[in-house]
Amino acid sequence: MTNADTRSKGISATVKRLCLMVVGMGLFVVALVPLYDLLCEITGLNGKTGGQYTFDEAQADPDTSRLIKVNFITNTNAGMVWDFWSQKSSVRVHPGQIKTVNFYVKNPTNRPMVGQAIPSVMPSSAASFFHKTECFCFNQQLLQPGEVLEMPMRFIVGHEVPQNVQSINLSYALFDVTERVDLSEAVAAN
């Protein structure tokens, strides 16, 4: 075998390895998306809260030695014209105590619209201990023109919430998703 042959074999082996690396990094990016969601769910990074929490109310065992202030913030995203407000701006709860707070939305336009609220909890260290047994953010809301909707949100702050957390901010951003959903399906679902 001549030198040139070994060299071209070496080159094609190197190129194969490098192409594999490119493909591997491509797969890594695709995997980053679920990995990121998983990491956020585990750590509460970015204030992401979990899904619907099941809780037996008879089991409620409030820790009366601690009182945590929960603040509610309601925002509408740019371009969202609904009115969105909460019954109270804040409540004080014991860890383990179940609490209901009403939120309201109003569609002031003359066309049916669909909204979706996205929650975020600060500080993020409290996010994984902030459980919601009932929340409007689990579904989308279809509102007819001028309709006002009362939406109860039931939550419980877990016992394990870190000691240094004295107040928690729960923020909702309301998005207009009318164009993202099929209106007739949304009507049927409601």
Binding site: I11, T14, V22, L45, N46
Partner: protein, 533 residues
Amino acid sequence: MSEVIHAGHHDDHDHGPAKGLTRWLFTTNHKDIGTLYLWFSFAMLLVGGLLALVIRTELFQPGLQFIQPEFFNQMTTNHGLIMVFGAIMPAFVGLANWLIPMQVGAPDMALPRMNNLSFWILPFAFGMMISTLFMEGGGPNFGWTFYAPLSTTYAPPSVTYFIFAVHLMGASSIMGSINIIATILNMRAPGMTLMKMPMFVWTWLITAYLLIAVMPVLAGAVTMMLFDIHFDTSFFNAAGGGDPVMFQHIFWFFGHPEVYIMILPAFGIVSHIIPTFARKQLFGYDSMVYAVASIAFLSFIVWAHHMFTVGMPLAGQLFFMYSTMLIAVPTGVKVFNWIATMWRGSMTFETPMLFAIAFVVLFTMGGFSGLMLAITPADYQYHDTYFVVAHFHYVLVPGALFSIIAAVYFWFPKWTGKMYDETLGKIHFWLSFIGVNVTFFPQHFSGLAGMPRRIPDYALQFADFNMISSVGAFIFGFSQLFFLYVIIKSIRSGTPAEGRSWEGVKGLEWTLPSPAPYHSFTYPPEVTEADAR
């Protein structure tokens, strides 16, 4: 048998370049492709510089005088994209094409045809991107970092052109990197062991690995944008369950290695020029190699220092702060090695040396402002201000760009067979040096005083600093036109250069005559200790 093969090859290869335009279109010669890359990147430098001057003209005085904010945003965005992907990166690839085969004693790059392709898709990529500026709705206006949802929900319709342009640039970079690694690993002359390789080759080997690792990440990010825009997915759309912060994580996972892609080859260039004009061997060759490798590794675990203010747990902030500061250690090793190389050397100050010394001084200043930015609590003050602009321009302009200019002057006699005009070169250096500092130094102050970046108008107290900055920008901009003049004049009427154009210069490329013959090292050279590095 082997004689027959040689004779056959002889017919194929031992002729000069083809004539006319087809020489450049169909060339597979590493020197031709290097030349194409260098001229292309210089053209992009002028285009990007023109956009910068539009920005600086608007910012000369407070208030809106010349352009509207929408257009201003397109200027900042395209200035950044063109300079990063069009000027700095292709210039380094051009230098790699010209120098790596000669420095390792190879006849050409390992994959010459792919080399042609990786250059020729670049003009199309940039043609596509720049054409968006003339489209209805305008070009990209979301900053060179194209954060979602600015680049998805709120993007101009032309964003799809931008996405495909980025895909093409990424493909070009990946192909270029594969070629460079394949050349370095397989085509070295006998006796050229890895630890004898010239520093430029070493830094490019590591840079090419960085490119291969992160360019697919960039491609993934823009592909997700494409899906969010056209196919109703919600990767970065909170309304659909996505997360815009994830975009920043993915972008900077690409972006931080990217900034080292733009500086590691510069380290290599400076490690050739300083020993030559100090007439000493490079101090601490081994530590230089390990420092570059450590910087490359660390670049993958510091990305979130670009996004301290997105709301990160304390542990995350501390991790990214300390890992970022750790990079100062290998970088410091390099800076001290360059200084130790100059220590008690018989120094002369030809133009490449002036640019190389300016590189060491000014890049170090950019590094220090980087350390300031790494301090998380302080970063809350500096974030998105002109202090950041000053920081990255100090590492990119007198850092990366000065090293490229230094390389052009240093290897100019080898490429063209002519010596550049030393007096004109020095004038170019001093104009650039003064221009760059007058432009960017005041931006530290306006940034610390709170002037936000990417704004077309600003509060009155920043007026003086901005006026100084704009004057500097015009000095710097026009001194690059002067650079063009120096180069063209020297190509036409420079004095003939010797093969070993600089006194005692080391490296295989200097064993060739000047200008380097169209085909060099058809037979592997004998690598002697003195010529390796």
